[in-house]
């Protein structure tokens, strides 16, 4: 299992409770540095100023959606290689293909368990870290 201690994660969701749930799971996985943003635009602001090693973003958000955020991240030289995990709902699963085409690293369907999230992270975070 890769070491998550030194990684900075950015959790993007407009629902604070959701961020809290994800944060709790990440804590259990030994992540130490967890940043939060309440939508895509706030996430962009953070990404412009801070080094982030992993982005976990909800799809459905006001102002700037997860897909739009993904496209921004991938088109930006400094951020284009950051692993990006898209959180999506069962009903929106079909849209995942859109995100795949926009180079999402992986996706996870709500509601997920701590174990599923851990498995997904293992898949997208380079093993040498």
């Amino acid at each position: 299992m890769p070491s998550y201690k030194d990684m900075t994660v950015l959790v993007v969701d407009d629902f604070a409770t959701m961020r809290r749930i994800i944060r709790n799971i990440l804590r259990d996985l030994e992540f130490k540095k967890i940043l939060e943003a309440e939508d895509g635009t706030a996430a962009v602001d953070i990404l412009k100023t801070q080094k982030v090693d992993l982005i976990i973003s909800d799809w459905n958000m006001p102002k700037m959606t997860g897909l739009e955020l993904l496209k921004w991240v991938r088109s930006n030289e400094d951020t284009k290689d950051i692993p990006f995990l898209m959180v999506t709902a069962e009903a929106q699963k079909e849209n995942v293909i859109e995100a795949i085409k926009a180079k999402v690293s992986n996706y996870i369907v709500k509601p997920f368990t701590a174990q599923t999230l851990a498995e997904k992270l293992e898949k997208i975070i380079p093993k040498d870290k």
Partner: protein
């Protein structure tokens, strides 16, 4: 050219490396290439391959494949064959045709894999720490078919499932946030009702439901999750334009909000006990049943499109009888009416084609179009100018000399047309007050439940039309007054019965058009205002002095004073930080008035008088000296000429007029505006009785010229704050008259004598 890029694409696809089934980025790249490839000139075989590949990728990505290894192999196989440059041999095709069909057949015959539920839900059934007790819960809903039969599945859905709470903090967060979301939904629903096609608004309602569902899923709040899910689905359909947002849909959303609120408060009580009900609420299951059977497409009202025959008859191309005849024959022979008519030789093919085209246009135009409100305002404004220009022409002395009969007739016609234009232009901006009133039904229901009082809402005049801009603005004041009526006005059932009333209170909401104004009544049959209590409170607050002798109506008006509240404690129902002062201010901003009538033990009436539109006021044109002013009729109670005996001076209060036994201060408009009047004695001049803050005043003017609807013209920022003037109006002869701001004048007058 197309071929070359196609070959390039094929090369790229062949060269692309997908590291494994977890390499979604690699797959994404290939999918993009495939999309691009599709726009090239492909053979049927190649298209088939591309589609197969896409379906296979999709199945792997969505983890819906029953045998990913096999699908994976197929992908490589198809890519190899598709990109093989020497793929002209038909042998290869045969080989391929077997291959993909075989793999696809394993799970489903369709392009879009329809995987059986048992295959999907194997994966997410991994328990987390807090789910040990909840496995049971899951079994009944999500995985009804696949968990071991004979277990909890068989239990009736109505049984309430209660589980212990693991992380109360999380639930508390959720409660708070979900409530905020519900509040935002309710706000947006209002906008949606006015603009049901606004995708932004639908989205703004969809999103909170989506979020609530997501978190409820984590917290295993099955009822909340499912309910939000169904509403979300419904809204998603509306958002994608599958069906319009109808009243029925809005009702469903509102009901869902209601139930969710109830669920949240149940959750709150449950949290305190450490045990929460997560599933099986009968109200939820009833609702779910209804929504699942609800057909949103059916509730679309059919639009009446005229038949081709009708169009032809209307145009006079062919007689009605002949069409009926042909119609019958056409039906018997299973032909279309147009065909039959041509066959019979009664109409030319060209006419039928034209009728068909017209019919099509009607279908497209349907019933309404959207227009920018600025354009509309501009139109209304210009029509106002037109009316004024017309009367300027007609009042020109030279024109009035013309005695020609034809000219006189034409003038009548012109007047008729401009009058109609003005009427239409006013009506363009008008909407029925119905939608606003209907929101009150819900409000009263909610309030009555919250307060424990039984309240019935009776409405009349919902079809009364009001300026669209005003509808939005009177909403808040109405809500506030109804809140007040429930909270302060209506007594609890026991108290009502004791007073000999029916246990349920009634609130009457009525709108009607009176002259150039809209009158909205909010009346309750509650306990009425307590003048003595208001008086005490006002003295306590320093609003009046103990020695002040105020009439009852003036006392009532004190409740409009900022910071006045007759109840000491702020209640959940009416204590929202908005006072009656805000209500009054809003109404006055709309150039309206609000009045109170109340009788102890019988109830209270709030009467709102608003102008029909913001652009035109119904005014009385009066003369003061050589100047003319417009007094809005909304402020005017009556006009009179007093007798000499009725006029006098009261020490310390200045000039007073006795109007039928009631003393009213005299306000001399000529003094206020610094003009030389025709008459200084009130008994020679004219008095306008106006009422402000429950007090009556007599404004002294010289004469009344007439009553007229005038188009309001803004005076610009320089003159915006001139006391006593609220705007300008252009009169029939082209001259400008100022519109008197009665409240401003009276306030200035009061300040002057103090």
């Amino acid at each position: 050219m197309g071929e070359r890029s196609k070959q390039e694409l094929l090369d790229k696809i062949a060269a692309s490396v997908i590291a494994g089934m977890d390499d979604l980025i690699g797959m994404g790249e290939v999918l993009n290439l495939l999309d691009e490839l599709e726009s090239c000139d492909l053979s049927a075989q190649e298209t088939e391959f591309v589609n197969r590949l896409k379906a296979l990728f999709k199945r792997i990505i969505l983890e819906e494949s029953s045998d990913p290894e096999k699908d994976w192999e197929s992908i490589h196989e198809i890519i190899r064959i598709l990109c093989d440059r020497s793929s002209e041999a038909s042998v290869v095709f045969e080989e391929v045709e077997v291959q993909p069909v075989e793999t696809v057949d394993v799970t489903s015959p369709d392009e879009l894999p329809q995987v059986e539920p048992s295959q999907i839900s194997v994966k997410p059934e991994i328990e987390t720490k807090m789910e040990v007790e909840l496995v049971v819960v899951r079994g009944t809903v999500e995985a009804q078919s696949e968990t071991s039969p004979g277990r909890v599945d068989e239990e009736p859905i109505s049984q309430l499932i209660v589980v212990p709470v693991e992380d109360p903090e999380l639930f508390k967060d959720f409660l708070e946030e979900a409530r905020e979301h519900l509040a935002s939904i309710e706000l947006n629903i209002i906008s949606l009702e006015e603009d049901p096609e606004n995708k932004e608004v639908i989205n703004a309602i969809f999103r909170p439901f989506h979020s609530i569902k997501g978190v409820a899923g984590f917290l295993n709040l099955k009822d909340i999750q499912e309910l939000s899910h169904e509403v979300e689905n419904l809204l998603d359909g509306a958002r994608s334009g599958n069906f319009p947002v109808t009243e029925a849909i809005i009702d469903i959303v509102l009901q869902a909000v209601d139930i969710l609120k109830e669920q949240l408060s149940n959750l709150e009580t449950g949290l305190a006990k450490g045990q929460i009900a997560v599933q099986g609420d009968s109200r939820v299951s009833k609702f779910l049943k209804y929504v699942r059977n609800f057909d949103p497409t059916r509730s679309v009202p059919p639009v009446k499109i005229p038949k081709v025959g009708e169009i032809l008859a209307e145009k006079g191309v062919v007689e009605e009888e002949k069409i009926q005849e042909a119609l019958q024959e056409a039906q018997e022979e299973g032909k279309r009416i147009g065909e039959k008519l041509i066959e019979k030789g009664v109409v030319a093919p060209k006419d039928v084609a034209l009728a068909l085209r017209e019919q099509k246009q009607l279908k497209e135009a349907v019933t309404s179009i959207r227009v920018d409100t600025h354009k509309l305002d501009n139109l209304v404004d210009m029509i106002g100018e037109l009316v004024i220009a017309q009367s300027m022409v007609l009042q020109n002395p030279e024109v009035q000399k013309i005695k020609d009969q034809k000219f006189q007739k034409d003038i009548v016609q012109l007047r008729r047309i401009t009058g109609e234009l003005q009427r239409i232009s006013t009506s363009l901006r008008m909407v029925p007050i119905k939608a606003t009133f209907q929101k009150m039904i819900r409000l009263v229901r909610d309030l009555s439940r919250k307060s424990g009082k039984e309240v019935v809402l009776q409405m009349s005049g919902e079809d009364t039309e009001i300026d669209r801009n005003m509808v939005d603005q009177i909403y808040e004041p109405l809500v506030h007054m109804i809140r007040n009526a429930v909270d302060h006005g209506i007594e609890p059932p026991e108290e009502r019965v004791k007073a000999g009333k029916s246990p349920h209170g009634t609130i009457f909401l009525a709108a009607e058009q009176k002259g150039g104004n809209i009158v909205i009544d909010i009346r309750d049959d509650g306990r009425g205002l307590d003048a003595e209590k208001i008086r005490k409170k006002a003295i306590e607050r320093g609003l009046i002095q103990p020695e002040d002798k105020l009439e009852e109506s003036a006392l009532f008006d004190l409740i409009f004073h900022p910071g006045f509240s007759t109840k000491d404690e702020v209640t959940d129902v009416s204590g929202r930080g908005v006072g009656m002062d805000v209500v009054k201010r809003t109404v006055e901003e709309l150039r309206g008035k609000i009045e109170i009538k109340s009788k102890r033990g019988e109830g209270t009436l709030f009467q709102l008088k608003l102008p029909l539109t913001m652009a035109i006021i119904d005014g009385m044109i009066v003369k003061v000296g050589a100047e003319r002013y417009v007094v809005p009729t909304i402020s005017l109670k009556e006009s009179l000429r007093p007798s000499v005996d009725d006029c006098g001076t009261v020490h310390g209060r200045g000039e007073m007029i006795n109007v039928r036994g009631k003393l009213m201060p005299l306000v001399r408009l000529h003094e206020f505006f610094g003009l030389e009047p025709l008459h200084r004695n009130p008994w020679e001049a004219l008095l306008l009785v106006v009422s402000e803050d429950g007090k009556d005043y007599c404004l002294l003017a010289d004469e009344i010229i007439g009553r007229q609807e005038v188009v309001i013209k803004s005076l610009g920022s320089a003159l915006k704050h001139v006391i006593g003037i609220s705007g300008g109006a252009i009169l029939g002869d082209g001259r400008v008259a100022l519109i008197i701001d009665v409240k401003g004048i009276v306030t200035a007058f009061e300040r002057g004598i103090k």
